[in-house]
Every structure is written in structure tokens, then in C-alpha cells.
């Protein structure tokens, strides 16, 4: 019993040092806020960019004669390859030290960098979503005399977007975890806050486990929330 009491006291002590002393929990809270802000706005940029790129790519593959589409498709490919071909941490540093060199708002740099990164992945998700819509849908639309643009907008995209909602939810969770490297460039995100607690307590165990725990609750909680929403959406579809 005494043995257990000791362990218990030790844990309380460590938690107290890591969280309460010097109001360290405030750092965590601030870091968490930055993490969420970056992931959320990056997702928005990513989705907008992703849909644009996906539509360009699908349009270009259907209409091989248009020169403008060919050029846009070429640029899209460069963008996708650059993003998917390099680690996100390298992208972040390039954005911070080279491209957005005169921007002093680091959080903004992170949002743009992660948003650009996400866009390339969302584009592929969206493209797969468009291509997963049965070819018969396009054929039915076209054989009714609808143009390819109207068919895309009225028939294909609505089905594609509904199909990829789960993948987008997943992308948000991925982003949330990926922003953990924002500390590389002067951003006080959740991971960085954990680092600071680690530095000032010399107790990596407690600090790291608290941070991991917060991410875990966040990620699993969001995953559950999203899958609940998805189920409700599917049920309300009444078909």
C-alpha cells in the first residue's frame, strides 16, 4: 500500500511540476491553439487548391486538344510533384527562409506552407473521387445533350464531393499531426510547448507523455466525431 502511495505521490508531483508550477499549462494551451489554427486554415487552403487542381487535371485528360488546359495541367503536375517529392519540414523551411522571407508572421507562413502541402494531397483525393463516379453518369449526362462542364458541375462533382468527405476529415487529422514540426521555424505549437516544459523540468517522460496524450485525445476524438457525422449524413440521405 505504501508502495502504491509513493508511486501515486510521485506521479502527482511530476504532473504538478510539468503543468502547474510556473503556470506551464498555459503554454500548452497556447500551443494547442496555434496547432488547431494552423491545421484548420491550412485545410481550407488545401481544399480550395485541391479542387481547382483536380478539376484542371480531369478536364485536361478529357479534352486533349485545349492548349490552355494542357499548360494548366503541366503546371499542376509540377506543383504536385514538387510537394509530394519533398518532406514537409523542408517545404516549411523553404517557405520560411526563402519564399516568404519578408513575412514576419510565422503562423501565417505555417498556414500557407501546410496549406500548399495539403492541396497536392487533396487534389489527388479529389481526382480519385471524380474518377470513382461511374463513367455511366458522365455518359448519361452527355447523351442528354449537357455540355461537359455542366455534366461535371451538376452530376459528377456533387457525387465526388460527397464521396470524399471522409477522406477530407482524415486529411484534417493528418494536418493536425503534421503541424507538430512547426517548432522548426519559431512557431509555438503544441509540440514546441511540450519541448519547453521538457527543458524547464528536465523530465522528458512527463512532458512528452502529456503532449502525446493531448494529441491522442484530439485525434481519436476528432476521428470519432467525423465518423459519427458521416454515419448521420449517410442515414439522412434516405436512399
Amino acid at each position: 500500500m505504501d508502495f502504491l502511495k509513493d508511486i501515486f505521490k510521485d506521479i502527482i508531483d511530476k504532473l504538478n511540476t510539468a503543468l502547474i508550477v510556473e503556470g506551464r499549462w498555459k503554454m500548452l494551451l497556447g500551443g494547442l491553439g496555434n496547432t488547431l489554427v494552423i491545421a484548420f486554415f491550412a485545410l481550407i487552403i488545401g481544399v480550395i487548391l485541391g479542387i481547382i487542381v483536380a478539376v484542371i487535371k480531369v478536364a485536361a485528360s478529357m479534352n486533349k486538344k485545349s492548349k490552355i488546359l494542357a499548360v494548366l495541367d503541366f503546371l499542376s503536375n509540377i506543383y504536385i510533384n514538387l510537394i509530394r517529392g519533398t518532406p514537409v519540414v523542408v517545404q516549411l523551411m523553404i517557405m520560411y527562409y526563402v519564399i516568404l522571407v519578408s513575412t514576419t508572421n510565422s503562423v501565417l507562413v505555417a498556414i500557407i506552407s501546410f496549406g500548399l502541402n495539403s492541396g497536392a494531397y487533396v487534389a489527388e483525393i479529389m481526382r480519385a473521387g471524380i474518377q470513382a463516379v461511374d463513367k455511366g453518369q458522365t455518359e448519361a449526362g452527355r447523351s442528354l445533350g449537357l455540355s461537359s462542364l455542366v455534366t461535371m458541375k451538376e452530376i459528377v462533382l456533387p457525387q465526388a464531393i460527397k464521396n470524399i468527405l471522409p477522406a477530407l476529415a482524415n486529411e484534417f487529422i493528418t494536418l493536425l499531426k503534421e503541424t507538430s514540426i512547426a517548432g522548426y521555424v519559431a512557431i509555438s505549437d503544441l509540440t514546441k510547448a511540450g519541448d519547453r516544459i521538457r527543458y524547464s523540468t528536465y523530465d522528458p517522460f512527463t512532458a512528452l507523455l502529456i503532449v502525446a496524450g493531448i494529441y491522442l485525445v484530439l485525434v481519436l476524438g476528432l476521428a470519432r466525431l467525423f465518423s459519427m457525422l458521416e454515419r448521420r449524413l449517410r442515414r439522412s440521405e434516405n436512399r
Partner: protein
Amino acid sequence: ASTPTVDVIKSRGKLVMLTNAGFPPFEYVSEGAVCGVDVDIAREIAAELGVELEIQDMDFDGIIGAIKSGKGDLGIAGMSVTEERLKNVDFSVNYVDSKLVILVKDGNTEITGADTLSGKKIGVQSGTTSDVIATGVDGAEILRYKTFLDAATAMKSGKCDAVVVDEMTANEILAVNKDIVMLEEVLSTEQYAICMRKGNESLQEVVNTVLNRLLAEGKIDEYIANHMASGE
């Protein structure tokens, strides 16, 4: 980015300080905020300019790059003046004298001084003068951590054999880690100064004025004493 001259800083209303908050007593985190000797100095400079102080906490090895590109106005991070660095940024007058020392685990009999480091694993903070000195040790394996505190933590569990670090930070580490000892030998002596973009003479003048005043008033020693105390 345009050079952050005094006029620019004043019109913007804030002074941006770049630092790495893992270097007590010069900069560390307390009460959720970055504080330390360098922060106190920066406050004085900001007061002199009549602007607010904003602190950005980043990896030490990125500070000079960020200053060069205008991400911040002043790099105040217990930064030693070296010839390499002088080629890329301007420095203020020196405000602290420092020495590089060696930390080992208590009971380590193999490492007794600089000449015994060969073939060992040396932990340093990435991009510091410790990094430069350790890299010069023949046959040593250098482990470059994000802060000295990481290096010390790693040494405690045996991931590296020694840590090369500034003396005052070493003392802070020793204060909370009973199983670490400092060797007597001094590897080098150096001076800390504040870095800023090349050619920014107006800012350099203000910084020097403040530093000289603080030095004359003995304020800097006072700051050091304060923060050493609070570290315990």
C-alpha cells in the same frame, strides 16, 4: 525585406527579438513566457526605442539566417561573436564574457579534458560555437541537439559521453542535475553580443548605447544574478 532601421521599427511599434529559449540564464521559459538576461536587455532596448517587444523562439541555428532575411530585428541569444558570423551580420558591443566548458556524467573517469575527447560522443547545441569547437575534435562523433538541455538530458542516459557548453548554462544544468559534473579545463573564451542585419547603423547605435549604459550601471551582472537565482 527592407532593413529594419530605427525609423522602421518605431513606425511599426514593435521590436522583434529572435532567440532560442533553451539557454538559461540568458533565455528560458518561465510562467509560460520567455525570460532571462537577454530578455531583460531587449526590454531596455525596446524601452529606449519606445516600442513593444516581441519575442520569437526558434532553433538557434536558424537565427542568423532569419536576421539576414529580415524575419526579426535583433538576434539576442547568448550569441558569441565569430569571424564567420561577422561576415553575415553586424554585432553590437560585447556584453558578457563566457567560457566553453565540458560536462560529463559524475564518475566518468575516461574524459578528463579536451585531449581525451577524441573518439567520444560529444553532445552540443546545433549551430553554436560549441558545435564548431566539438566538430574540430579529431575522431569524435558529434550529436547536434536542438538545445543544450536536450544534450544534457541525452548524456544522463548515456546517449553521449560529454557535452560542450557555455559555463553559465552549465552551472544552471548542474544546479538541477546532481549526477553531472563540470571539468575544470576551459575550451575557449568568448564574448556575447547582439546581432542584427548588416549595415543597420541606426539600430546598432541604439543597441550599443543601451548596452553601454547597462554595463556601466552594472545592470547586466544584476540580471545574471537574478536569473541564476530563479533557476533554482
